[in-house]
């Protein structure tokens, strides 16, 4: 049967430019680009300087989005997603802007945080690198993603993300932060260098420079970086020799933005960010042993498209990106020296309970995923002190900006860790109040689950293995087997079951079959 291709538009209201990409997705699961358009509007200049967006910028943005809408109509686009990043996120008057866009175009603008933004871009990068095969990403690879507002440093290993760090050191932000002192110095690029060095001191690389085999540069909305590499273009992914880069670097440092704009045929506004970006690249490139820069020409909008259609793509093309987040989270757990066996146990059992209660808890895949993350991280606070470790866990998670999680999701994960242990939460408890009503209920359900899972390994000896779980009447019966006495577990289980009953209306009961006894 004929099934028309679907058309999707991804719009990114960036700090530096507005971008839209329209794609067509065929029934066979192939993505075809139809349009990529952009508008240079320096929202970041307003926000990073004044904390809010100027009248002029708001007007220009609304006009541009109306233009995008017109272009969408040219193709009969029916599905879209509009996201906004740091400039809008940090602007005091963002809600007015969002309301105006909604009123004028009918689009709901979704504000995403830095981790989400960078993860979306990461998806597109990984997808391209995997499908392109230009480098072997099973080898340790450093990915630098330079945005207008912030940069993200990603480490990949074994085809998965191993860590991510974010710094508020985007090219536009650097430029705007220290532009005022430009007139006081003749060697502005030196000042820039010092500024950047001071800010990247705390970065942890996890690997020594001779272990980091590849260097990947993502320029996101700063398209001119791809421009720089246009010198050696090759389908989608471009690579630039380190030597060649260094030549450009040395030359560019001595040039005015105007001269650069002419030389590379890029807008002046882009050229102004050229030098700060080059310094950033140089600093991080030197932390690797790569002899070239790999520059995939992808940006946030590609990530949005991939996120929307990943599940429907042709086999072999689609990817499991959750694995990347988990890999990062596990790396984090290792860094905080958690008890791996215990964590694995709690993670497994929590997910088993979650799955068994499908239809009862009414939660979905994403909540399961948050539970899993929280399970992995629930004990990291012990790195600081064992009592009250759950408070430390909560604080660490909240401060960690886990890649790919929204602010709400991060808070949820933190709350789950906060209340996995002795303290029993109420709707008004610390952390939970930061969540919306719906999220709060979800968090409570996940907390109830992790508490049971954690209780089942109170001794950290993984004594119990689940043989069955039954729901009968208002009973939730967990049948387990053990080779040892499990008095402690049983006691904790019963103690924590009250909260579970409150949340689910089911009374948990653990039935232990002692294999020792059984064999006798």
């Amino acid at each position: 049967m004929y099934c028309p291709p679907r058309l999707f538009a991804a719009i990114d209201i960036g700090s530096y430019r507005l971008k839209m990409k329209i794609v067509e997705v065929t029934p066979e699961g192939r993505i075809r680009d139809l349009e990529t358009v952009d508008h240079l509007i320096l929202l970041g200049r307003d926000t990073f300087n004044d904390g809010k967006l100027s009248f002029e910028s708001v007007k220009k943005t609304c006009e541009a989005i109306q233009g995008f809408k017109r272009l969408m109509a040219d193709y009969g686009v029916t599905e879209w997603r509009v996201v906004a990043t740091s400039a809008l996120r940090e602007a005091a008057n963002r809600d007015f802007m969002i309301d105006r866009i909604k009123f004028q175009t009918g689009f709901d603008v979704e504000i995403i945080n830095n981790s989400q933004e960078k993860f979306l871009t990461y998806k597109a990068i990984k997808w391209q690198l995997m499908n392109n095969g230009i480098i072997d990403i099973s080898e340790p690879t450093l990915i630098l993603n330079i945005g207008a507002g912030s940069i993200q440093l990603l480490l990949m290993e074994n085809n998965l993300l191993a860590s991510s760090q974010s710094l508020k050191l985007g090219a536009l932000r650097i430029k705007e932060s220290i532009a005022k002192i430009e007139k006081h110095t003749l060697n502005f690029s030196r000042v820039l260098e010092e500024y950047i060095e001071a800010h990247i001191e705390s970065v942890e690389y996890l690997k020594s420079s001779n272990e980091l085999k590849h260097f990947v540069l993502a320029s996101g909305e700063l398209d001119y970086l791809a421009e720089l590499a246009r010198l050696g273009v090759d389908k989608g992914v471009v690579s630039l020799d380190k030597e060649q880069f260094e030549r450009i670097y040395v030359q560019a440092l001595g040039k005015t933005p105007r001269a650069l704009s002419e030389e590379y045929d890029i807008p002046l506004a882009d050229a102004e960010l050229f030098v700060p970006s080059l310094i950033l690249i140089k600093k991080f490139l030197d932390k690797t042993c790569s002899d070239k820069l790999i520059i995939p020409s992808v940006s946030l909008v590609d990530g949005l498209i991939l996120e929307r259609y990943n599940d429907e793509l042709e086999k072999g093309i689609s990817m499991d990106f959750d694995a990347d987040i988990l890999s990062c989270v596990r790396e984090m757990a290792t860094r905080y020296r958690t008890n791996e066996k215990h964590v694995r146990y709690v993670e497994r059992v929590a997910l088993q309970i979650f799955d068994r209660l499908t239809g009862i808890h009414g939660l979905g895949e994403r909540e399961r995923f948050i539970l899993q993350i929280a399970a992995i991280l629930h004990d990291i606070g012990k790195y600081i002190a064992s009592d009250p470790h759950y408070v430390y866990s909560y604080n660490i998670i909240r401060a960690s900006q886990i890649i790919g999680l929204s602010d709400e999701e991060l808070t949820m994960a933190a709350c789950i860790a906060r209340y996995h242990s002795s303290e029993t939460p109420e709707l008004g408890s610390t952390g939970l109040v930061k969540l919306g009503t719906e999220e709060r209920i979800k968090a409570m359900k996940l907390i109830a689950i992790i508490r049971m899972a954690d209780a089942m390994d109170t001794s950290h000896k993984q004594k119990l293995s689940i043989s069955a779980m039954d729901v009968s009447g208002d009973q939730f019966i967990v049948r387990v087997e053990s080779w040892e006495e499990a008095v402690l577990e049983n006691w904790t289980f019963n103690m924590k079951s009250e909260f579970f009953s409150e949340v689910f209306g089911l009374k948990p009961q653990m039935v232990i079959r002692n294999r020792m006894v059984g064999e006798k």
């Binding site: 952009d38 508008h39 541009a64 233009g67 009969g76 030389e263």
Partner: protein, 724 residues
């Protein structure tokens, strides 16, 4: 780094090739072009009425030349600009040379008129009588005609110290009168009356020939005393003023381009006077007053031996019944790929379609847009419109498409010279119909001709593109030679979208797969194409450049072509109009040959062909090799890659290079001489050849049978317009 820095791109001024003596002044070169048009009026191989039409074209061309080019030089002088041009002439010196050359041209023009064409007309029964030749009956008739028809429309105006000198409108014909005030010369009263433009210039009479006429200004002159009853008229003469018509808009301040152009249209009438024309033998006193009052430059008063403003010959040409004195009618053909009413989208999907106008009909393009307007699968239509006839079926189709809920985006170039009034009107009507109309770009004129149709088909979105060297004007498409390409090549389709995104402001720096766009990339691209030929020639490989264009003025390109010639690149150029390059200079341009073709159809299409070591690259383009095309306009260069289409374009170019009937060869001094057939060589006129070829190749007659192919395009200005 592969990119060139701007300093290198702009050429090194000290390079020997840019010396002033190696270039020709563009204005003088343009006058040579008009001389070639005049030569066609003199050419006895052309039918009589066609010769008269060439005379009218030469005349209206010259009008525009004064309005635009002379006007612009005057602006420069007024602005205190005295820097010499590339040939070392200051604006003032250029104006002197122009006056000199024009007076010869005008003398030629009128000698041809009175010595050759008037007798020829009489031989064929067309009489244009002077007042002295009228018989009594005719005078009686005209007297009545004057009183009852003409007189009520006339507005005589007198000038005296209490009244300012009246505004004499651009290009109107007037009669100046000197009235005796009873005192000395100084006290004579100057009066003037405009010859009404609502009547035809040619007043028909009963006479001995097939048709007998007298000119309207002569009729008014005969009875001029009836306008100034009781006064003694000392002298009366017809005169005509041409004013500066260059449209100067301060775009920095022009928030709304539309408003600004409407304003400047009103100003145009009042531009500074550039030229005064009077009949030879007119009162010197009267001429003196006019010259003084209109503040005319020396040498810019032209005394002509015959009627002023020969564009009235268009009227004659348009009259019924002279068919045997015109070219044989030719009906544009429908190309084979589209014959038998084949679905145009299907045909394009099969293969690229090349259209060579006017040998092939423009009808398919109009059809395509009309079809698109009704096609439920069509989602969007985007088009650039530059000089479209107001009654254009294309405009109608676009409005209809918008009405049917299609997304229609139209870029209307308001800065298209002299058509603005026309453009503003229909642009507004398109807007009303729901089209998204963009009124040009600040600082750039959109000159590319491109249409994009987005269609949702079974396999997804497909884009159909038409790119042409000629405007979307179904009228001019019958008389201008142009080349258009219909394609659904994915890369060109994407490029077309990008081009429109750039035009609608959604694209900071357009990156294109196949197309090359001015002002961003075109110059660089031409430079690199020429440079490649230079490299190949220096490496001892085959290297040549063949091109057909309308004007070659850009000094950077000329310099590069000189370098190419010096390196041994063989260069053959067909340049219809201005050519500032001097071919055949020893050591400079020995390998460059330039020819020009002026014929029945206005040569308009641009073709560029580069040897590329035998792997030829062939392009069509909207751009000439002029600074304005490279730097101040949005233009497109389109590679022709489909093998069949490519060989066809190559064939067309070769035929032009073989023309030995209408082609004129340019010598190093900028003069032209006919290329004559060598002994044993067959006569070949490219335009005739293409007509015959089309008739033999193609099959179905156009739906509408056009009775006369050669109708002037809505107004003489519009037709002659792109000559300058």
């Amino acid at each position: 780094m592969e990119r060139q820095n701007p300093a290198e791109r702009n050429g090194n001024p000290s390079v020997v090739h840019t010396k002033p003596q190696y270039l020709l002044n563009r204005e003088l070169s343009w006058l040579e072009f008009n001389q070639r048009v005049l030569d066609e009026a003199a050419n006895q191989d052309n039918p009589l009425l066609e010769r008269l039409k060439f005379l009218a074209i030469a005349s209206s061309n010259l009008d525009e030349f004064f309005m635009v080019r002379v006007g612009s030089l005057n602006d420069q002088i007024n602005a205190g600009f005295t820097r010499p041009d590339a040939t070392g002439l200051t604006p003032a010196a250029q104006l002197d040379r122009i006056a000199e050359r024009t007076s010869i041209l005008v003398a030629d023009e009128y000698a041809l008129w009175s010595e050759k064409l008037v007798p020829e007309m009489r031989k064929n029964g067309i009489y244009l009588l002077s007042t002295g030749e009228l018989n009594e009956a005719q005078v009686t008739y005209l007297s009545e005609y004057f009183d009852s028809v003409v007189y009520p429309v006339l507005t005589p105006m007198a000038v005296d110290p209490g009244r300012p000198f009246p505004l004499i409108h651009n290009k109107t014909l007037n009669i100046g009168v000197l009235i005796d005030n009873g005192g000395s010369h100084e006290e004579d009263i100057f009066a003037t009356v405009q010859v009404p433009s609502v009547f035809p210039r040619l007043v028909e009479l009963k006479g001995i020939g097939r048709r007998t006429f007298v000119l309207m200004e002569d009729v008014i002159s005969m009875f001029i005393d009836r306008l100034y009853v009781g006064k003694r008229i000392k002298a009366a003469c017809a005169y005509r003023v041409t004013r500066n018509g260059d449209l100067a808009i301060d775009e920095d301040e022009a928030e709304d381009l539309l408003l600004e152009i409407e304003k400047s249209l009103k100003q145009r009438i009042r531009g500074q006077a550039m030229r005064l024309e009077v009949s030879r033998g007119s009162s010197e006193l009267l001429t003196g007053i006019l010259q003084k009052k209109l503040e005319l430059r020396d040498g810019y008063v032209f005394r002509v031996d015959g009627p002023l403003d020969l564009t009235f010959l268009y009227e004659l040409y348009d009259m019924e019944g002279f068919d045997e004195m015109k070219y044989r009618p030719y009906t544009p053909r429908i190309p084979r790929a589209l014959a038998d009413g084949k679905d145009i989208f299907e045909a394009i999907r099969e293969k690229d379609i090349l259209l060579h106008h006017p040998y092939e009909s423009f009808e398919p393009i109009v059809d395509m847009i009309q079809k698109a307007a009704h096609d439920p699968r069509v989602l969007a239509i985007k088009q650039t419109l530059y000089r479209v006839s107001g009654k254009s079926p294309i405009i109608k189709a676009l409005a209809e498409a918008a009405d049917r809920g299609k997304q229609v985006t139209v870029l209307v170039e308001l800065k298209a010279r002299f058509d603005e009034e026309n453009n503003i009107h229909w642009a507004k009507s398109l807007e009303k119909a729901g089209c998204h109309v963009i009124y040009g770009l600040v600082g750039l004129k959109t000159h590319c001709k491109i249409t994009l149709i987005v269609r949702m088909e079974d396999d997804g979105i497909n884009r159909y593109v038409h790119i042409s060297t000629g405007n979307y004007n179904d009228e001019t498409a019958k008389v201008y030679t142009d080349i258009g390409l219909l394609t659904c090549n994915k890369y060109i389709g994407e490029d077309a979208s990008t081009v429109f995104n750039a035009l609608t402001g959604f694209c900071e720096r357009p990156r294109l797969h196949k197309l090359v766009m001015a002002p961003t990339m075109l110059r660089r691209h031409f430079n690199s194409l020429i440079d490649r030929e230079i490299r190949n020639a220096l490496a001892g490989k085959q290297a040549y450049i063949k091109a057909k264009l309308n004007a070659l003025v850009d000094s950077e390109i000329i310099e590069r072509l000189y370098r190419a010639s010096a390196a041994g690149v063989q260069i053959d150029l067909v340049v219809r109009g201005m050519c500032c390059l001097r071919p055949g200079l020893k050591g400079i341009s020995e390998n460059i040959r330039v020819r020009s073709i002026v014929g029945r159809y206005l040569e308009h299409g641009r073709i560029y062909c580069f040897c590329n070591e035998g792997n030829e690259e062939v392009f069509i383009s909207s751009a000439d090799w002029m600074e304005r095309n490279m730097d101040r306009r949005v233009e497109l260069l389109v590679p022709i890659e489909d093998p069949e289409a490519k060989s066809r374009v190559r064939h067309i170019l070769e035929v032009y290079l073989k023309d030995n009937v209408k082609a004129r060869h340019m010598n190093k001094d900028g003069k032209y001489a006919l290329v004559l057939p060598q002994e044993g060589e067959k006569r070949l006129s490219a335009q005739d050849y293409f007509m015959e070829e089309a008739e033999a190749e193609t099959f179905e007659i156009t739906k509408q049978t056009v009775q006369r192919v050669f109708r002037p395009v809505s107004s003489p200005i519009q037709e002659s317009d792109s000559f300058v």
